[in-house]
């Protein structure tokens, strides 16, 4: 199993380099110029050329790329052209904030959607199923910035229960996490519901019922484990989506996270920061992909055996 994990980690490296190359190329050839941001109305072609030389961005494209990769290998993501801060430090500050929101959003999504999915599968045409469907549809249809602002107006301004911005306390984490998780609740609960329904129709469940196994054990011990496979796969995908999609939530709630840092840096043409953010996001998604695969192995021994045997089939 460990061999599988190590092999996947090693395979991730060329993927991340490829991602960095694509983004580097796009930024290099995109319209817009960092010298305009820095010089503003003092911009002249001569001043811009001097500044480009100072920043090292007048060098050939491949030279700049290779220098950048060399820097990353040494843990140096360069310096922000705007703030002159180390990009590594900026990421060290912003990434934890994004991860806090991510973890709480994912936990919230799982904790709410899986039980809802199970109950909806057990009572498919009930009022409960209808209500959960309605809430799920709101979550997936309403824009997250709108829900965020409404929650701030209601919970911060009117009721004064929660702070409107920042991440200074645990209570400040609640609204951003709820907003981020809402859009994924529908997908997760529907997936759990449909896979539970399928699982509950299997012969081994009928056998377990015939043997007199309690309903709770049938659902939680037998059916759920098989039903979770598609849900785990979807959770992995959602986490990857959330990493990039945290920008809106971070902007609304004034949280200094990686998503907001990325968007602001794109607007300012702060190339080093953009590349740093994209690299970290690529690494996170790759790691999550590996974790998802390991989770599959834990849930389904057949998959674990496949990983251990290197994908060779038995017999």
């Amino acid at each position: 199993m460990w061999k599988f994990v190590v092999k996947r980690l090693l395979l991730t490296i060329p993927i991340i380099i490829a991602v960095i190359f694509v983004v580097f190329t796009l930024l290099h050839f995109a319209p817009g110029d960092i010298t305009m941001q820095l010089l503003g109305t003092k911009w002249t072609p001569e001043a811009a050329e001097t500044l480009r030389h100072e920043l090292g961005i007048d060098q050939p494209f491949m030279t700049q790329f290779i220098n950048y990769i060399k820097g990353i290998v040494q843990g140096n993501f360069g310096i922000s052209y705007i703030s002159r801060e180390s990009v590594t430090n900026m990421l060290a500050v912003s990434m934890p904030n994004t991860i806090y929101i991510l973890i709480t959003s994912v936990v919230l999504s799982i904790v709410i959607s899986i039980p809802i999915g199970i109950l909806a599968a057990l009572k498919p045409n009930s009022v409960f199923s209808g209500i959960t469907t309605a809430f799920s549809l709101i979550g997936v249809s309403a824009p997250s910035f709108w829900i965020g602002l409404l929650l701030i107006l209601l919970l911060s301004l009117r009721l004064k229960w929660l702070p409107a911005s920042g991440l200074e306390s645990f209570s400040a984490l609640i609204m951003p996490s709820v907003v981020m998780s809402l859009s994924h609740l529908a997908a997760l609960s529907r997936t759990t519901r449909s896979s539970m329904i399928e699982s509950l129709r299997m012969d081994y469940i009928r056998t377990a019922r015939a043997k007199g196994v309690k309903k709770k054990d049938i659902v939680l011990k037998h059916a759920l484990r098989n039903a979770l496979m598609p849900t785990v796969s979807l959770v992995g995908f959602i986490i990857g989506e959330m990493i990039g999609g945290a920008t809106v939530v971070e902007t609304i709630f004034g949280i200094s996270g990686m998503g907001r840092l990325l968007v602001e840096s794109v607007n300012k043409r702060d190339i080093n920061v953009v590349l740093g953010c994209v690299t970290m996001m690529a690494i996170c998604v790759a790691v999550i992909s590996i974790v998802t695969d390991v989770a599959f192995a834990y849930l389904d021994p057949r998959i674990k055996a496949q990983y251990v045997s290197g994908g060779k089939s038995n017999g």
Binding site: T41, K42, R84, V93, S256
Partner: protein
């Protein structure tokens, strides 16, 4: 089918409840203002939140660097004004008033001696001397970022530990204004020297101002605490700390002030004005800003080289409508070439007004009775304004093709390459006409700030002779060239917007200048 209908009805009811619970009242437009105005709620019962003396200000944008000469950007100034001293400071019209400068002696047209306060110290306890001041000012001169403001300064000599002699290329009555520029912020000469090879030092600056930096979290917050070595007890910080929190979303900043999470915010949105007026816990502070919006016309273009065409367009644009569309009526329409807070400002030197018939006459006189077409470039935030102008000019037979760019700075290379007919731009110039209009309209500035590629030999002579020491004579000179500009019309001046801030109703000493809430050291409960 029944359950589907039930679900849909439930969904609609839920959305209605959510919206009604959280939505604000309908907004109304109000007239612009041209002096500081404070608007409080109808029943002012006092602000919310615990009133400690740790002031929290919510800002839209984060500052860049503590290095005073990396870039010239308004986002840096709220912090610079607090942590760094300068020889002069700004008043509410960004005119210069004494700061660290104790005494000013004009020796000749090109030499001014300034004596600084003795006993002033940096945050590390070392004394501020003339050598530090000279090094800091020359750092700003050499960076070139302040452009015409500091170009005149040729040399600074230290006569003794507290006296400097500043030599300028020619008579420069705006010297005090130049020395109030935030780029001339004072840091130790030794620090500047070390920072040349070790720029990381700027992360922990040695401060000369009323505050020192306690903590900065890039993208999130900056916390300042009073500098124990500030030299003047009478003008020392009146609060225990100031924390700037970066909150990009305007509505969130407003709510933070209303809930007491923040004591004051900048960039207060016009959309939130009515809800803020209904809240007795907050007060709105506003003033006509120095941010000046106009349309330049490429005067070297075949059509726009004709003065009559430019004058016609000045009559064809309804500035009141432009202000309403862009700023919900809050601000001040403009006909002059400098902002109201600028020395030399006149309300309407050319006596222009919205007069489409007059515009048509002028076009016919210019030989364009059948109209013409041109490209109007603007960034996405001016979409509504561009559409309005498109409609107004269509009435006089002029076809406007709107070209949208991502950001206003993207217009600069188009202008440099002479690929721009006309564009909507904004400008926050120095508060002295002699520094403002030549910067934007001198021949030497073509390819830089002179977007209109305008030239006028008569004006060049007037500008060269305008550095008069006597203020009244200078103002007369300014009026003379503004009359010429209003006749020549390289621009269509539109409006200045409003500088607005929302603060806790109990917060005292909220002062506004035309570029930002300022004198934050005075904020107290």
């Amino acid at each position: 089918m029944k359950s589907l209908k039930r679900n849909v009805c439930f969904l609609l009811v839920l959305m209605a409840i959510l919206s009604l619970t959280a939505c604000t009242a309908k907004t109304e437009t109000t007239a612009g203002v041209d002096k500081p105005v404070t608007e409080s709620g109808t029943a002012a019962t006092g602000g919310v939140g615990d009133h400690d003396q740790n002031i929290v200000m919510a800002l839209q944008y984060d500052m860049g660097s503590f290095d005073t000469n990396v870039r010239w950007a308004n986002e840096d100034f709220p912090v610079y004004f607090l942590i760094y001293a300068r020889l002069f400071e700004y008043d509410e019209n960004t005119s210069a008033i004494p700061g660290l400068a104790e005494e000013v002696n004009v020796i000749s047209d090109t030499e001014t001696q300034i004596k600084i306060h003795q006993g002033a110290k940096f945050s590390d306890g070392s004394e501020i001397t003339s050598k530090d001041v000279a090094a800091s000012v020359m750092y700003a001169v050499e960076s070139g970022l302040a452009g015409e403001m500091l170009d005149q300064i040729q040399k600074i000599d230290c006569i003794d530990d507290y006296t400097l002699s500043i030599k300028t290329a020619s008579a420069y009555p705006q010297l005090k204004l130049a020395l109030a520029d935030p780029l001339t912020s004072i840091v130790p000469a030794s620090f500047l020297e070390e920072a040349k090879t070790n720029p990381d030092l700027w992360s922990n600056p040695i401060c000369s101002g009323r505050y020192t930096v306690m903590e900065r979290v890039v993208g999130s917050s900056v916390t300042l605490v009073p500098n124990e070595y500030w030299y003047d007890e009478a003008t020392a910080a009146q609060n225990d700390s100031i924390t700037f929190k970066i909150v990009p979303e305007a509505s969130t900043r407003t709510i933070m002030v209303q809930t007491g999470e923040a004591d004051i915010c900048d960039g207060f949105s016009a959309a939130d004005i009515e809800s803020a007026k209904a809240d007795p816990n907050v007060a709105i502070h506003s003033i006509a800003s120095a941010r000046y919006f106009y349309i330049f016309m490429n005067c070297q273009d075949e059509v726009f080289s004709n003065k009559l065409v430019r004058q016609a367009l000045n009559y064809a644009v309804d500035r009141d409508a432009a202000l309403m569309v862009q700023e919900e009526g809050r601000g001040q329409v403009m006909y002059d070439y400098v902002a109201p807070c600028c020395m030399g400002y006149v309300e309407n030197p050319g006596n222009y007004s919205y007069n489409p018939e007059k515009a048509k006459e002028l076009l016919a006189e210019a030989g364009y009775a059948d109209g013409f077409s041109f490209d109007l470039t603007c960034d996405a935030s001016f979409g509504s304004l561009a559409a309005l102008i498109q409609g107004e000019l269509a009435e006089i037979g002029v076809t406007v093709n709107v070209v949208t760019v991502e950001q206003m700075v993207d217009i600069i290379p188009l202008v440099a390459q002479d690929q721009c007919d006309a564009a909507v731009v904004a400008w926050s110039g120095p508060p002295d006409d002699a520094l403002s209009t030549p910067c934007c309209l001198a021949e030497a500035a073509i390819g830089a700030n002179n977007f209109a590629r305008y030239t006028n030999a008569e004006l060049e002579k007037l500008w060269a002779n305008s550095y008069l020491q006597d203020d009244a004579a200078r103002v007369n000179a300014y009026h003379e060239w503004e009359n010429i500009l209003c006749d020549d019309c390289p621009w269509i001046p539109l409006y200045v917007n409003e500088q607005r801030s929302l603060a806790n109703a109990d917060l005292k000493n909220v002062e506004m200048c035309c570029i930002m809430p300022y004198n934050l050291y005075k904020l107290t409960y």
